[in-house]
């Protein structure tokens, strides 16, 4: 994955925090996912304009006791998987979604 990797939440999903997990439903095929706490932080910060590396450094490493290099590797893996399902959009340029989704409540 490129150093400048931008991630944005798809506009085709529904999402809500429940306890420490994020529930995500993909509208086109009604597939339901749950994300753990760390993946939820990345998902919530995926605004299309903040590079993944910055999200990991500023949000993941500050909230969880983890080294940047290891956290970034895990984050790239999560992002790739979610992008494969259409939950996240990935680009090497900032992404402006057509519908400005507010940050997921709770």
């Amino acid at each position: 994955m490129s150093e400048k990797c931008y991630v944005a939440r798809s506009t085709k999903i529904a999402a809500r925090m429940m306890g420490d997990e994020m529930m995500i439903m993909l509208a086109p095929d009604s597939t339901l996912f749950t994300l753990n706490e760390v993946a939820s932080v990345i998902f919530n910060a995926a605004d299309g304009t903040t590079p993944l590396e910055v999200i990991v450094a500023e949000r993941v490493c500050s909230e969880f006791d983890v080294e940047l290099e290891a956290a970034l590797k895990d984050a790239e893996h999560v992002v790739k998987e979610l992008a494969g399902h259409g939950v996240l959009l990935v680009s090497d340029e900032p992404i402006t979604p057509p519908l400005a989704f507010a940050q997921v409540a709770r």
């Binding site: 506009t11 085709k12 999903i13 529904a14 999402a15 809500r16 925090m17 429940m18 306890g19 997990e21 529930m23 439903m25 509208a27 086109p28 009604s30 339901l32 749950t34 057509p98 519908l99 400005a100 989704f101 507010a102 997921v104 409540a105 709770r106």
Partner: protein, 370 residues
Amino acid sequence: MNHLVEEMSAKALKLGIPLTVQLDLTYRCNERCVHCYLDHEDHGEMTTSEIKNLLDQLAEAGVFFLTLSGGEILMRRDFFEILEYARMRSFCVKLKTNAVLIREKEAERIRDLGVESIQISIYSHRPEVHDAITKMPGSLKRSINAIRFLRSEGLRVTIANVLMLQNIQDYPGVRALGSELGVEVTIDPTITPRMDGDRSLLDLNIDQVALERVFREEGLVENAGESCAPPSGPDDEVLDSLPCSAGHTACYVSPYGDVYPCVQFPLPSGNVRQDKFLDIWRHSPQLNEVRSITLRDLTGCSHCSNLKSCTRCPGLAYMEGNMRGPSIQDCEKSFVRTGIQSVNLMSKKSGGAGLVQIQSVPAMATAASA
């Protein structure tokens, strides 16, 4: 139910989260269905800003599944503004509509907004039957056209086929129509009383012979043989379980902001124009009373052999007079399905006192009868 949804529901129950809310945007409608339980006059619907504020509160409360229904949702000129706002708040949105106002442009907009599914009421594959029920000439044609528009946008559509005396012969035709359109068909053989308590609509319910045919038709009911088999009696696990999700992980909000446990359970539990949704959800005495009831507490039902597979609706029981009592409509359905009379049906037929709870006998009355 998908196991992940079951897991989420169990977690929501544990955390006290209202996972599912049905919000009726309006009771106004362009159809006048003969079996409808609503009063279609507008008695002061919530404004656009009141609804947006409510959606903010529902998101904060943790609501995930949001059903927008009515009345006819597209009778509101601000419908798409509300829908867009709901999607911006990341709800998983399902729409219930008659779809007669959905054309290509609306279907495209619904797709763009990432709606999860659209449920459309179809009563018959024959215009003369469907249109007679909706009392709107041309309504079947328009609803079917809408389904085609929505399907061409790749959207998931479900046909809801409510069965009543007028259309009981037509469900095979509706199922064939569903196959042709590439949509799922769900069949509901229950006509419910009007929300104001008027029970005259129940006369439209199909008779027991027709109901038995529906319940026993393979391909219509999943595992019909299993579903109609006489159930084993209630055990502790069943007795300690909850009647349904109403008030536990689900509730209903009317166009006027009234909160109820469910659309079929008209127990007024608060109003979002007066109180915050979350305060109502957490502290309403009515919702807390609903939550306190397990199957063990139900009059008659708790020792009925049909309990395990009964579809007793607490809302219908409430409308029959006692939320801890039976829903005779469901007792009758259980009887048709399993061939075993429920405790409450037998009690009703024998004129027994099972449904009456006498708390005290006035001394004068006792003396007079002695």
